[in-house]
Symmetry: D4
Subunit: 168 residues, 8 copies
């Protein structure tokens, strides 16, 4: 089994946000790697990772970071493999991380998801892989179908909430 | 008893905000429906609801949503029944939901109330109904009259707070 | 002809924003009044207007204001007629006006539309009137239908834009 | 004893913020009144208060309010007695209240202090009174002198904090 | 003629905002001084000004500043004469100046007006002076009365705006 | 030639932002479609487009929208094809559009790029396609290589800027 | 032992943020002073400190402050010794302090670090000292080298986190 | 003549902001280098520059960048030479660049100045150099002294502005 997706984070404290991505890949049976690398503390390790990612068979990279979040953009500057950025709320409600990830200059995009949105990052990775893999496309379509069940169930729960003037 | 107002929310976790609207309708004896529908997970169910709302006798729709809150706007795009949007604080103090609801493009208004303002949404619904229903107008006028009592009482409580140099 | 909707603004300089509402009422053949009243400079005139609005046959009030925009809320505190607030961009990109209008305390809602959104305010007024007026409902449905034409036309224009690798 | 300053708030829940002003007036032996009045729920009571304030001997008014905080501006529109506004943090970290109080249109100023800054509002009231009352000016100068003691004491505490390379 | 109010600004480029205050004092016949002093470039001059203000007969100080606007707070730390702060929009729509002026720590208030609100600062100064000067109070009441005329005139102008369905 | 990427926008006025994406696809020789569809005005057309996208051979969708920008999220809710969202600056410096696009709820990601970032959206689309297409990967690597030339040239220009104490 | 760096804060309550700077100087064996001084309450003490700093052998000053944080800028206006400003989160998530420190006018820079960033302030002080002190430069290089170990360790921890489809 | 300071920018379009730094170094007779390097487009060139800076005799680095401004932080991660970051206003009034530069994680400070504050960056560089160079300290003290003249002159200009009730 060889990883086709990489989850990168700046420290183990980010794991409580990023583990949602790992759990999704387990559920979808997508082999992945997971590493702590820091754009600021281990720039050489980031460089080695990014420059070898394509040759190592990595097809999508997910990078989570907080504050002045440079990790996703720095990786994106060193590889043509698409990078998904997850802004982590470590200060200012995550607004600093969101802007530091999404406002990339022309030429080097980072596919940004919402603040703390690691699950959405993983789903997006699955959708990217599906552009060239019809089996993955089927998995993603099934997953999306499954989302409806939560709402259907929520609706049923609401049916049981009692008000005098509620009609359903 | 047939609902003339609908309360829509994206999940049962929104109920703790939205129940204030339900309680108001109970107090005012206005029959209402309540459903969990998601603009993103069950778009077909939203469409069926919105397109049938007028024929079903619904005169006002209240929709609460958080984050990139699309639900009120999506419903408003599919019906001429007025839609009241309640931005729910799920991230960024609710500022993302407020902007995603209130800043609708020309042609498709959503009547937006304050963050977590489900009670105000329900009062506004009552006032909208009152434009064509004089009995409802009387209810709303009585309700507004009642609001003064809370302040009068608060003022009496302040009278009892003791300071050496307080004169009343 | 007797007005059933009122457009209120704080000064004639707001007319360039608010005239979109007047034009819509002309187009829809909805009789309306239009006045300059200031929550801060002519509070007595505001009070007289607001307290008589219902008796004068006004069914919906639209109030536009900028900066610390108190006008919509002050009117709403003095009548049970529904008030639609239009935040006007006079400073801080209109964010001050938006917050000063939408964040009303429990009990006194203002139906807020987007910054400078006078057209949407007028459409919303039409939808409110339609809750008790089926002819108005038909007008509003026709109007919404008409919105689609702009997009259809826009799409046709895009068809004529030429790119070498564009397929439609 | 007749009040020369008034503290106005929208509800008793604001008392935990506004009591700092009352305590300051007690400490300075400045007679004051304290009332709960709401710009939105009891506009008539606000009007009666504001229009009689000058004749009643009130020389400065302090008004605290949260959210779309209209109370200080509404009072200021009805009297020439100076009004000090205290933005209370009830949502959005108090930013909505700050903007709704400070961004008054030309002609009707509100002297705004920081978010939850009731103590500063009371000191400012004392300074305003001191413009025409030399005894009050002496009180205010003594009070300001006293502020230095807190810092001197803080500095002494820091002297006792031990670090190996700390030289003082 | 001896100044009883001081207008302080950081540079002559601020004059185009601050001149509104000077014009108001001329109109009200209130003698005033006007100086360029910088909290950051001429701290000693600021100190000399602030420490002598009371003895020089100054009863209210107006200080305008942009960006990290320290001038009003620095003056307020050196005198018991009340200081009115005018946030000047030099960057970030004036939000930096507003926060740097209004968010003063407990003990040292600055009476803050809206962004670029020099006219309101001058009116507020007049109201402060009026707390101990009944002639000034009459001037201020007359001035406030005059504000209504602008709105009355605006309303008359609106009367002349023609729409087919406009009823007034 | 059959489109494998779709560029969707809400009106032709968005073309001046979105054309950067079209130009990139021309340069990369990637066949694409381009349509004006509105989440709010033509919801049925959006639905037809989104539900057929995969069957029509579309592998990536780029959707640009301003204000309360629902278009990318609404499309993403109806297809498993990955959607790239471009926030367009139509108000509030584009902050409303950014938040309304990026803050999607769990389950329905939108790959968001910077405000007005249509070129980056197109590059990201190319990178997504490259996950399953090695020829595309080569194109993208060449493109990224080309970006360096602009900087190298900029550096040469700086060499020619003359200062007395400049050493290079 | 004579201090070459000074840590200044407005009150002992700031010590829990600023102590990170003191600990760093202990670790690096850099002698430092630590004082509580307030720009607003003890302006004379601030002036004496700032004007004597250079003669007292102080080479870098670190000043932490919250809210309308004037302390760093006020010190910087009175000395040519470089001043590092630490915005302390006391309100508005620290955004007010950040803007009040960083947005200094031309001529008087404050070297600003992140919100609550006292450790980074101390490291920056070390780097400034190192511009003229090669032994200090070696210390700083060693410190930076040490930062990598935390990430390497974090990466090892991640290796031990188990997922079914995790490959490393 | 060998550069002891480096000015780095991402493109020649940044020169109109950054040239203020170059002019200051000319005025102070401080030899400097100036280069266009991009964290995202030429990461290798950035690395070579940063890793050789100290050995090349560079004592302070000034880096200006806009949007998701990574350049200062990326350089700071690769050298112990102090880095001064200049947020350039390219979008969102420069707020994105400010946050992306100042909110660095613990261990890797960037000395941040105000938005577009290239002159202040250069002055700060001079002050850093002065920590180990008494001649430079004298230059900086003279420069700071000179700043006062601008204000003195401004004050003289204000003396000539005529108002009827102006006393100076």
């Amino acid at each position: 089994m060889k990883a086709i997706v990489s989850i990168i984070m700046g420290s183990t404290s980010d794991l409580k946000v990023m583990e949602k991505a790992a759990q999704f890949f387990d559920e979808m049976e997508i082999p992945f790697g997971m590493n702590a690398l820091s754009a600021h503390r281990t720039p050489e390790a980031v460089e080695i990772f990014a420059k070898n990612a394509e040759a190592d068979g990595i097809k999508v990279i997910i990078a989570g970071a907080g504050m002045a979040a440079h990790l996703p953009g720095v990786i994106a500057s060193m590889t043509a493999v698409p990078v998904i950025g997850v802004p982590i709320n470590a200060s200012l409600d995550g607004m600093d991380a969101l802007l530091a990830i999404v406002q990339m200059p022309p030429g080097i995009p980072v596919a940004t998801v919402g603040i703390n949105g690691a699950l959405n990052a993983a789903i997006l990775a699955g959708q990217m892989l599906a552009t060239g893999d019809s089996e993955m496309m089927n998995k993603m379509k099934n997953y999306k179908e499954g989302l409806k069940q939560k709402i259907v169930k929520a609706n049923e729960e609401l049916t049981r909430v009692q008000y005098r003037f509620k009609t359903n």
